[in-house]
């Protein structure tokens, strides 16, 4: 390997290795230290110039690689199984969830949080993985949501066709909008995507021909849905649907990150000039990231509509994109866990912080301060600023750092 190429690959190789090391270290605590030797073997390599997982595989003994892969898969699988089992848990968690865990209220809340986690993951493909600061991601999520509801009600299409149609139209939209917006870079790209999303938001709010329902939003056509997804009693199925979406998003992003395209995205994120000098078609790489992120976001919008029983114009607003940005940064940009946890926690906090407004703690404070603190967005905004300053790698990055620190002492 020549030295410029090496230095070109190195930054993303080290971040990659660091991410992997942190995910392994977290997995190993869960698997009772079974994978500890593997993570110890990986750490010295992180400082070397190992550019890809395949290279790691050849240099490390096969048995530890297998244990490593197993440990890496163990934690997500365990989490998935626990989450999938939740609709069978009848216990109450007062203060954390409304009513029983398997009650419709709790499951609906959890499903919404999961969908938000998945949508945050789709935004992270652009922001955390490729370094594209897009303010227009809401456009694609809303496209999924609205295209589904519209094709079910106005065009009365069957559900599978509606889903495919929504994905197809969103894909075309992503190519067009991304193709135009990518003509400029950096901050200008952010503004252009914002403008497009805003245009969509205006269209939806103006309610052309009574199709989008304006400020009221649109409710799903119940007759067009399978009966399993309708009604309060079927909340567990909607919850599992949300869980399935998150799993799909997780798998797509995990596979993407390990693929050649994922490595190219990381290279663009770390140093775009260097990546283009090395001969990567950076425009195509970025457009691919936008299309994949948008399709995942569209799927998220579809599931969001199914879980919540309709489309809400809030999904189209720039505030929603800003919320996605907050979720990703809060959890940790460029990390699968980070975006997921960030999205989940944000949606949870947004829904539950309203409860705090009635608490006795706030009533003891002066009236004005209590009113300000009762705004979820105020608290989230302040937390967000604090995270940007003091934990640039987000909450998961902070957690990983603490775990490593605890082990080294």
């Amino acid at each position: 390997m020549t030295s410029p190429a090496q230095s070109g690959v190195n930054p993303d190789a080290t971040t990659e290795a660091r991410l992997r090391a942190s995910s392994v270290s977290r997995a190993s605590t869960a698997a009772a230290g079974a994978a500890r030797p593997a993570s110890a073997a990986l750490t010295p390599e992180a400082s070397g110039s190992v550019p890809s997982p395949s290279a790691t595989a050849t240099s490390a003994p096969t048995s530890s690689t297998r244990a490593q892969a197993l440990a890496r898969a163990a934690l997500p699988l365990a989490v998935l199984m626990v989450l999938a089992y939740l609709p069978y848990v009848p216990t109450e968690l007062p203060g954390i969830l409304p009513g029983r865990v398997n009650g419709p209220g709790s499951l609906q809340l959890l499903a919404t949080c999961l969908v938000m986690g998945g949508i945050a993951l789709s935004y992270d493909v652009l922001f955390g993985r490729t370094g594209l600061l897009s303010f227009g991601h809401a456009l694609f999520v809303a496209a999924g949501s609205y295209l589904l509801t519209i094709s079910l009600s106005t065009w009365s299409l069957p559900l599978p066709v509606a889903v495919l149609l929504a994905l197809a139209i969103t894909g075309v939209l992503a190519v067009v909008v991304g193709g135009i917006a990518l003509r400029v870079g950096g901050i200008a790209f952010a503004m252009v995507t914002l403008a497009f999303a805003q245009a969509a938001s205006i269209v939806v709010l103006r309610n052309p021909g009574g199709v989008t329902g304006g400020e009221e939003g649109l409710t799903l056509e119940r007759e067009a849905l399978p009966s399993l997804l309708v009604g309060v009693a079927n909340a567990p199925y909607r919850y599992w649907l949300a869980l399935a979406f998150v799993t799909v998003a997780w798998l797509v992003v995990s596979l993407l990150v390990r693929s050649r395209a994922g490595h190219a995205m990381a290279a663009v994120r770390e140093n775009e000039t260097r990546a283009s000098v090395l001969g990567l078609g950076t425009y195509r790489v970025k457009l691919l990231a936008i299309v994949i992120g948008s399709l995942l976001g569209c799927l998220g919008g579809i599931v969001h509509a199914l879980v919540l029983g309709g489309s809400n114009p809030h999904l189209t607003t720039s505030e929603f994109t800003l919320a996605l940005l907050v979720m990703v940064v809060l959890g940790g940009a460029g990390s699968t866990w980070g975006a997921l946890i960030g999205g989940f926690l944000y949606a949870y906090a947004d829904a539950r912080l309203v409860e705090v407004s009635g608490s006795s703690l706030l009533e003891s404070l002066p009236h004005t301060i209590g009113q300000v603190l009762s705004q979820p967005l105020f608290i989230l905004g302040i937390i967000f600023i604090v995270v940007v300053y003091f934990a640039p790698s987000g909450l998961t990055g902070l957690g990983g750092r603490l775990i490593r620190k605890g082990r080294s002492t």
């Binding site: 600061l133 200008a188 245009a199 205006i202 269209v203 300000v372 967005l377 105020f378």
Partner: protein, 294 residues
């Protein structure tokens, strides 16, 4: 014809408001590379400071005098908020552009939420001086007088900014900084101080935009700043990011296109055609956005 004159005047007035909002944004971006999402919060500060001042001043004063005092208070407060934001939030993150944007995003979310908590999400009516709510006859059209006030205010700010940039030493430093910040620093000039001043100017102009937009809308609400901000962003991009004259031209173009299309096509088409204009500019002249002279 009279319809057209009325629409053109309103478009011009809207463009004037966009210019007030975008001029600070454009200067801040040109000099520091910061996309300031908190600019909407600055506008909100101006609007609410103006509203509170007008309601707190004794009603024996005429509305016009109260509005004038309110404007002075709003501009001063906007400048102060701009300075505080720059010193406390932006400066520690110097050279981390994305983080700077993120911090301003957090600030805008928190400040809008705070205003919503204190004064509620609903619009609050704002008093308007009698002479501003009247009409003036021009070219056979009866034009609302307040439109001229916005245009005059924007022209004054434009003239002031141009004089500052072209005639003073500070303006020389700002123009040089927009062109090549590193070189200016290498010559031993304190650019940091200019950053603070530019933020103060931006905050003041935004606060003025906020209080005038509240007059235009007849009310103040927490979401006002954000909706104005989006068009200000579009104006900044079309105007060439960092150029004051470009911003002025773009603001007028955006205001006119929006008003005329909204009337002659259909309501809402104007807002869309503005985005279309942006896409056209990007496709035809992408190089104009990569930097400009102030």
């Amino acid at each position: 014809m009279s319809d057209f004159v009325l629409l053109a005047t309103t478009g011009l007035a809207l463009g004037a408001l966009y210019f007030l909002a975008a001029s600070g944004l454009s200067l801040i971006y040109g000099l520091m590379g910061v996309l300031n999402f908190a600019h909407g919060a600055f506008m909100m500060v101006g609007a609410y400071a103006g509203w509170l001042t007008m309601t707190d001043l004794p009603p024996s004063l005429s509305v016009g005098v109260r509005l004038l005092v309110a404007a002075v208070v709003a501009v001063a407060l906007g400048a102060a908020v701009g300075v505080v934001v720059e010193v406390v939030l932006i400066r520690p993150l110097y050279r981390h552009h994305i983080q700077q944007v993120l911090v301003t995003v957090g600030l805008s979310l928190a400040s809008v939420a705070a205003a919503q908590g204190i004064w509620g999400a609903d619009p609050r009516p704002v008093e308007k001086p009698d002479w501003m709510s009247g009409t003036t006859s021009l070219l056979g059209a009866r034009l609302p007088t307040d439109r001229f006030v916005y245009v005059v205010a924007a022209l004054a700010v434009l003239a002031g900014l141009l004089a500052l940039l072209r005639l003073t030493r500070l303006g020389l430093i700002i123009r040089a900084g927009v062109e090549n910040r590193t070189m200016v620093q290498a010559l031993g000039i304190d650019v940091q101080r200019t950053f603070t001043i530019v933020f103060a100017i931006g905050g003041a102009a935004a606060a003025l935009a906020g209080i005038l937009y509240a007059q235009y809308a007849g009310s103040v609400s927490p979401a006002q700043g954000g909706s104005l901000l989006i068009f200000a962003f579009i104006v900044v991009v079309i105007g060439g990011m960092g150029s004051i004259v470009g911003t002025a031209v773009a603001a007028v173009a955006v205001g006119l296109v929006q008003q005329l299309a909204n009337y002659y096509a259909a309501s809402g088409v104007g807002d869309l055609s503005v985005v279309l204009l942006l896409a056209l500019v990007l496709l035809l002249r992408p190089t104009s956005l990569k930097g400009a002279t102030a």
